[in-house]
Symmetry: C2
Subunit: 288 residues, 2 copies
DNA sequence: AATTATTAAATGGATCACCCATTCAATGGA
DNA sequence: TCCATTGAATGGGTGATCCATTTAATAATT
């Protein structure tokens, strides 16, 4: 007998793994060697199961943004798992932007309103891991923004256009005062507002995800070289005029021209910046 | 004195939290009340710090797909954190598709090649949380696929087209043999192949993410009603002919028409299916 | 009575010390 | 040569314990 009070009887309650293989108990006949198809699945672990269950409750609408999950100690007991493994699941969901964990009495795990910036994280990871290339991302950006411009011409509300105009004014001010980095921040906001003007949050999310990293590069380029696009504000004004007139072809043409010019600026003297460094600095929520 | 051997001296080594507030130690002057700007940051927790550091190593190229991280016990010691909290971080990164954890000797945490399907998960979460609507997703899908078709016409290689033709043959066979659900699977594969034919992995990833959930609906619809699109194979053949001829306008027109027809099929008798159920069943890797 | 400290409880954050199951290389015998 | 056994490394998981933060209830003070 061990010295401790044998805290791990193998027969302890563990309801979770019992429900693992709902999908695996399929048509497989008695003696047949499972034909050609092998299930590529790895044994499902407790924390995956927990994540899946919570996501299921979200999908079913049982859990909605603002709702609070039971306290860790209670929920762990309900699920028949240790608090540690429950936390692994909760943390994963927090990283995924689904939950927010808050300390203190009246704290707990709260369901969050969907954070559209999670897609940016995915895009960043794909770039870090070399699954996609900068070239592909830039090319995709041109196409996605062109689509965004078309939709904005069709759907932009008056308030969207006014927000864009206000942004261009800020850009103008930053330009005249020589605040180059603020100007980059304005540009970032410009694309964000343009995405909203598309009138479709899915498209907006996609536009943001292909723009965020790009703006990082621009920021790094401007910060290191001190140079910046000439005539930016004028081009923005022209573009906004086309948008206001719902002139798709003019707006598209102007946007395409601008993106090309930015691209050329980025590509000259490429040694001055590094994908690696720009990506590595992008970890937290970037600058506010 | 507590009964145990006081295992938690407050002075224990904990190097991580010491480096927390790199950003907070900013220009704040002595007596001034921090002006207007409040840092919106919540105190960074150990597991976030660990995730950020590993992602940083990925971004810098120090860690590449296939690389193995130190064993949990070693890495925890290196970072000065407990094994549990390290695991919270590793699990989060595994959920994000960045790592794969493997048991056994010679096991460990391996950096994965980027998993483009992570974007699908984000899209699903956004839908579950009500951040985006089915209507927005459907609309976005039409636009994104139109873009995909344009790119496929421009970039599809011979092998892409052949893969699509083989897919249509399988679809034809499934249709003639009355295997409706297999036919849906073929359709899923069709869009996957079309995405690849676009020649841009970013665009392909986006196309997949807006298509996956949609195909779930189609699957549920077909499974519950037993009806399916008439003339699907013929339309696919026409589309492929246009793609082969690089006829953008014809291909676009055919795709748009098809998407509209599918949409009408889905919308008739809407009571037969439920967003909630379709989403909830989508948890694992879907059917192989 | 109003205000301000104080206290106590609930909760997430983190640690430690285990134990189990799996995997695979090394070992050794048939 | 081949196959079974063994054992160490590793991730998977548990439970007990303590810390830090937050909030509400309570007590003390003005």
């Amino acid at each position: 007998m061990p010295t401790k009070s044998s805290p791990h009887p193998s027969t302890r309650a563990r309801p979770l793994p019992a429900a693992r293989r709902e999908r695996a108990s399929d048509v497989r006949t008695a003696g047949a060697p499972a034909a050609v198809t092998f299930r590529p699945i790895h044994t499902r672990r407790a924390f995956e199961e927990i994540c899946a269950r919570i996501r299921e409750q979200l999908a079913l609408g049982v859990l909605k943004p603002g709702d609070k999950l039971p306290a860790e100690r209670d929920l762990a007991q309900q699920l028949g798992v240790s608090r540690n493994v429950l936390r692994e699941a909760l943390r994963s969901l927090e990283m995924a932007g689904v939950l927010r964990l808050q300390k203190g009495v009246k704290g707990g795990a709260f369901v969050q309103a969907g954070d559209t910036s999670r897609m940016n994280v995915v895009m960043r990871d794909m770039l870090s891991l070399g699954t996609i290339s900068v070239r592909e991302l830039s090319e995709a950006r041109v196409h996605v923004l062109e689509l965004g411009v078309r939709l904005a011409c069709a759907n932009a509300r008056q308030s969207d256009i006014e927000a864009l105009e206000a942004n261009v004014e800020r850009t103008d001010l930053a330009t005249r005062e020589g605040r180059l980095l603020d100007r980059v921040e304005c540009a970032r906001e410009f694309y964000k507002l343009l995405a909203e003007a598309s009138g479709n949050k899915v498209i907006a999310m996609i536009m943001d995800s292909v723009t965020e990293i790009h703006m990082r590069f621009v920021y790094a380029k401007v910060a290191s070289s001190g140079v910046a696009m000439a005539g930016l504000v004028e081009r923005r004004r022209k573009f906004l005029a086309a948008l206001r007139e719902r002139d798709v072809s003019a707006a598209t043409r102007l946007m395409r021209g601008h993106l090309g010019a930015v691209q050329r600026m980025l590509e000259q003297d490429p040694g001055a910046m590094s994908l690696q460094v720009a990506l590595a600095e992008m970890q937290p929520g970037m600058r506010p």
